[in-house]
């Protein structure tokens, strides 16, 4: 008997009991669907995080000086600049950053979502922002604590009709002259987004908010130097503070890595849980196959009396289980893709940027393979039971 005959026979048996086959497959369908959607979500999340981080610049380090701990010492801006200069084989640019709270006013209108940041002259280079018109923040602005600012495209378009240079706005009650406008970072600049921002000299910002400068963004020559760069900065800061609790050095690429590995762990755990349903599905198949073997005892006896060898009976039942399971797997894949498409749409509109739930071909192939494999695995026991039936007893079974 050829293997194709066994397939034909299996399909015939599946066709004659569609409802039962469907219920048998349900565990596999749900399992495969769940695995596909979860892996797809994980991939989507991973991609989303990677994209978000690379827009922040994976070659940047952030140094935060907390001043907490036992130390009363501090590090000056000049010391930080020197530190970068001394380690120029790893480090390239540095900019202090000062967050200014207290809102922006343009023509008497209070803007609540606009962010104001005090920055150094290299900040736009670090961030890969381009000045579209006017100029950036210069050393002179910083040195003299000038009341000048560079604004994002959203503000320029919305409040200054696209020609903001030379106009004025107020931050914290103080008047600033717009000296430059940045290029839009997205095709549709929106309120509260990257393009809804005001940048002023860090020295002015520190004075305005009455704080010391305690945060720096530093770029590396290459993101491969993340660990070296971090080490030199930490060593130097430890020497200054004598206490490792007073500062922290965070590398974006390391953060991305730890985020991605966390997402991966999460996905593995969830996919593992979903895979348990595959196991349950497999047991369901075994259960129904055992029932089926009992129901078809007489058929097995007849087949044996007509000359079926044990191997043929074994093949017939294993193939039936595998076809059932693989069919369930295929259905699960189709449903999983459908659900992924829906999830993509929902997630994209929820977070307001493109989010793709895509399990990828390899995960799908694996899911299909596993479901067929489960059929073979869990079909084996019932099939062997069938194959080993005593033909005389099987013939007289009713």
């Amino acid at each position: 008997m050829k293997i194709t005959e066994a397939f034909t026979l299996a399909l015939k048996n599946i066709r004659t009991s569609k409802m039962r086959t469907f219920l048998t497959m349900l565990g596999i369908i749900i399992g495969v669907m769940a695995v596909i959607v979860i892996v797809g979500l994980g991939n989507g999340l991973s991609n989303y995080v990677t994209e978000s981080f690379s827009s922040l610049g994976t070659n940047t380090l952030t140094v935060s000086v907390s001043g907490r701990g036992s130390s009363t010492r501090n590090v000056s801006v000049d010391q930080m600049y020197e530190l970068v200069d001394e380690n120029s084989e790893y480090l390239e640019y540095i900019s202090p950053t000062v967050n200014v709270s207290g809102g922006v006013r343009i023509d008497g209108e209070q803007l609540y979502y606009t962010s104001t940041t005090g920055v150094g002259e290299d900040y736009f280079k670090i961030k890969n922002y381009t000045v579209a018109s006017g100029r950036g923040i210069s050393f002179g602005d910083i040195d003299q604590r000038k009341s000048v600012c560079v604004i994002g495209a959203y503000l320029n378009d919305t409040y200054f009709g696209g020609s903001g240079v030379g106009e004025t706005l107020r931050v914290g009650g103080r008047m600033f002259t717009v000296v430059g406008v940045l290029e839009a970072s997205s095709s549709e600049p929106e309120e509260g987004g990257t393009d809804d921002a005001v940048y002023i000299p860090y020295s002015t910002a520190a004075r305005l908010s009455g704080t010391t400068i305690n945060s720096y963004t530093i770029t590396m020559r290459s993101e491969d130097y993340a660990s070296e760069s971090k080490a030199v900065l930490e060593d130097a800061l430890l020497e200054i503070f004598g206490d490792s609790d007073s500062y922290s050095v965070i590398s974006m690429s390391e953060m991305l890595e730890s985020m991605t590995s966390m997402i991966n762990v999460l996905v593995y755990v969830l996919a593992g849980i979903a895979a348990i349903s595959l196991l349950v599905g497999g047991i369901g198949i075994m259960n129904i196959m055992l029932v089926s073997v009992t129901e078809r005892t007489r058929e097995i006896g007849v087949r044996k009396s007509l000359g079926a060898k044990e191997r043929y009976i074994l093949e017939q039942f294993i193939i039936e289980a595998a076809v059932t399971s693989a069919l369930g797997g295929s259905l699960g894949i189709v449903l999983g893709y459908g659900l992924s498409a829906i999830a993509s749409t929902v997630a994209s509109s929820a977070i307001g940027s493109s989010f793709t739930v895509d399990p990828g071909l390899s995960a799908v192939m694996l899911a299909f393979g596993i479901s067929a494999g489960i059929g073979v695995l869990f079909g084996f026991l019932p099939a062997r039971k069938a194959a080993r039936l005593n033909p005389i007893e099987a013939l007289h079974f009713d």
């Binding site: 008997m1 050829k2 005959e5 015939k12 048996n13 004659t16 007489r298 058929e299 006896g301 007849v302 087949r303 044996k304 009396s305 007509l306 000359g307 079926a308 060898k309 044990e310 191997r311 043929y312 033909p391 005389i392 013939l395």
Partner: protein
């Protein structure tokens, strides 16, 4: 010439706990090619045991069974399956057709296990069904046919592979007497065409359809001879009367 079926002191002993049942007690017999033989006896006399052994569904506890000169007792399960497939055609009391297959597919089953290619299989199965007068119902399911028609399908299935022996186990047991006679006539016809037919029955009136009768009692052969001899059916009755008289 050597016999097609030869039993040499064939015994079958069933052990049930402490008790042992001797279902066949050193039975020796020979059935030649082309014979029509009835194996007859009352319930529990050992007919099914003999039929299982002849049909290679079971092997003797002791003694030798030669089928066409080959020792069946030394064969493994696979070899037995192959012998059943090639040498034997079974006709069962309950027809034992596969309900999910149409009757053409049913007749094809033994041919499929033999590895006959699809087209050839169709041809042989169709020819066998035409021979039993069901050539116009090839696509019918067994459940759509009457009992007599179903038994004819099972005869076609037994015939299709052109086996050396046709083994019929109470083939008329589930049929009314008229349909039963038709089936018996069909077996007679097969015998006339040169097939070897072994008919197993408890019913003397059916057993006499064969040309030879082997009568079993408690696992022993008590008569082996022509069916038209007076002792063929009388032996048992005499004994029964004697038993009643005691």
């Amino acid at each position: 010439m050597s016999a097609l079926i030869e039993f040499q002191k064939v015994s079958k002993i069933y052990k049930m706990g402490d008790a042992t049942v001797v279902a066949a007690n050193e039975i020796s017999m020979r059935i030649q090619k082309g014979e029509f033989v009835s194996i007859v006896g009352s319930s529990g006399s050992g007919k099914s045991t003999c039929m299982n052994i002849i049909g290679c569904l079971d092997v003797p506890t002791s003694g030798t069974y030669l089928l066409d000169g080959r020792d069946v007792g030394s064969m493994n399960k696979n070899e037995l399956a192959e012998i059943r497939n090639k040498m034997l055609g079974f006709i069962f009391q309950q027809y034992n057709l596969l309900p999910k297959l149409n009757i053409l597919e049913n007749v094809e089953v033994p041919l499929m296990y033999r590895g006959v290619p699809r087209a050839k299989r169709h041809e042989l199965a169709k020819a066998a069904l035409e021979k039993v007068g069901l050539g116009d119902k090839l696509r019918h399911r067994p459940s759509q046919l009457s009992g007599g028609q179903q038994q004819r399908v099972s005869i076609a299935r037994a015939l299709a592979g052109d086996p050396a022996v046709i083994l019929a186990d109470e083939p008329t047991g589930a049929l009314d007497s008229r349909t039963g006679r038709e089936v018996l006539a069909m077996l007679q016809e097969l015998h006339n065409q040169g097939h070897t037919v072994v008919l197993i029955t408890h019913d003397n009136s059916i057993a006499v359809e064969a040309e030879r009768i082997i009568r079993l009692e408690d696992g022993n052969v008590v008569y082996d001879g022509p069916s038209d001899a007076p002792e063929a059916v009388v032996t048992a009755r005499k004994r029964e009367k004697g038993a009643v008289g005691q």
